[in-house]
Symmetry: C2
Subunit: 215 residues, 2 copies
């Protein structure tokens, strides 16, 4: 697949989890079918957008009936590879790392956080939300031992690149980056960078539209 | 502006902060102009996408020279209303709330977090990263007193709607929702919901593309 194709569907991919929420809620209510319009209304999107996004799953809706709920859930999970578990570690067990360890939605989506790592010797040997905290020196050993796929990076900015280098050296090929640093990694390592300021940009523009120019 | 127009530019709005990062870095290096291609390379986007996104600012690039750096920074900040400060409170001073209070990027973008609120009486009366923590009962008074625009909601799921109701009652019209609950609010209140699972969806698809179907 060409790079440009992947980029074109980024907003679609980002919306799939919210579709999954709505469709799972419909299933809990005992519904067998859900229409694109119902999903669109729930999420305040345009129906055409929803149908276009859901086309990536290969599931086709029936006119007047909608999409089969169970098939659509399975297809989204398969598309996102959320039909399997990923073993993860959290590197940086500060407030953000601790919050991520406790974030139930991730466990629900198959992310198994098996260990945390921190520089602070006062944290090492303890547990955070049931997850053991090790020293950074044990990173490589634990990653091998626990067969880890994903490192969630939540260290202070000043340590981000150095710790990312350690993570890559330990054999991890997927980093979920919660620091503000744009990491330099080899081309065979994938990085997803979270940026809180994107959300703040959205909030700001919504405020501008709702409250007017002179608010 | 029609609702569909606003929705059409959501991915654009979400990308603007990353453009701002790159353009500010160029200014720090003493550059007066930056080309769309340079921005695109830095962020691994298509140049056409960057030029389309930046068109919302009204700044026009010169052929072979690019965009004037200072004008572009000003125009993005103006578009996002980041040329003014917003007074904010954090409601829920747990690990996530504490992490958000310490997130420097928000301060840099004009978010002034003036107070935090928590149910836990052990936290009340103390400070978190220099921000005073009050009891939830003081919410309404403090919001009036400090002239607050934005409430950042980071309470446990089970309290999310009840606390959001208190926030709205106190006169806040913008909620940045870090809980997993889809809040019900009056139509004159704007909500921006952060969903970590969108980022995990992106990471999952990147892993699928990079490591293949059978990884």
């Amino acid at each position: 697949m060409k790079n440009s194709n992947k980029l074109a569907s980024m907003p679609t991919i980002k919306r799939l989890p919210s579709y999954l929420h709505v469709i799972e809620a419909a299933e809990k209510e005992g519904k067998e079918y859900i229409s694109g319009t119902v999903i669109a209304d729930e999420l305040e999107l345009e129906p055409i957008q929803v149908r276009k996004d859901l086309a990536v799953t290969g599931i086709v809706g029936k006119p007047r009936i909608g999409f089969p709920v169970r098939d659509l859930i399975n297809a989204i999970n398969q598309f996102l590879r959320w039909d399997r578990e990923h073993q993860a570690v959290v590197v940086g067990a500060g407030h953000l790392g601790t919050a991520l360890i406790g974030y139930e939605e991730l466990a629900h989506r198959g992310v198994r956080i098996r260990a945390a790592f921190d520089l602070d010797q006062q944290k090492v040997g303890k547990t955070v939300n049931g997850v053991p905290v090790y020293s950074l020196g044990q990173l490589s050993d634990k990653i091998q031992e626990l067969n880890i796929d994903i490192a969630i990076l939540s260290v202070p900015t000043s340590h981000a690149q150095a710790v990312a280098d350690m993570i890559v050296k330990a054999g991890i090929r997927a980093i979920w980056n919660f620091t503000t640093v744009k990491l330099k990694v080899p081309s065979n390592v994938v990085v997803q960078k979270e940026d809180m300021s994107s959300g703040y940009a959205m909030l700001s523009v919504k405020m501008k539209h709702a409250f007017g120019e002179h608010d």
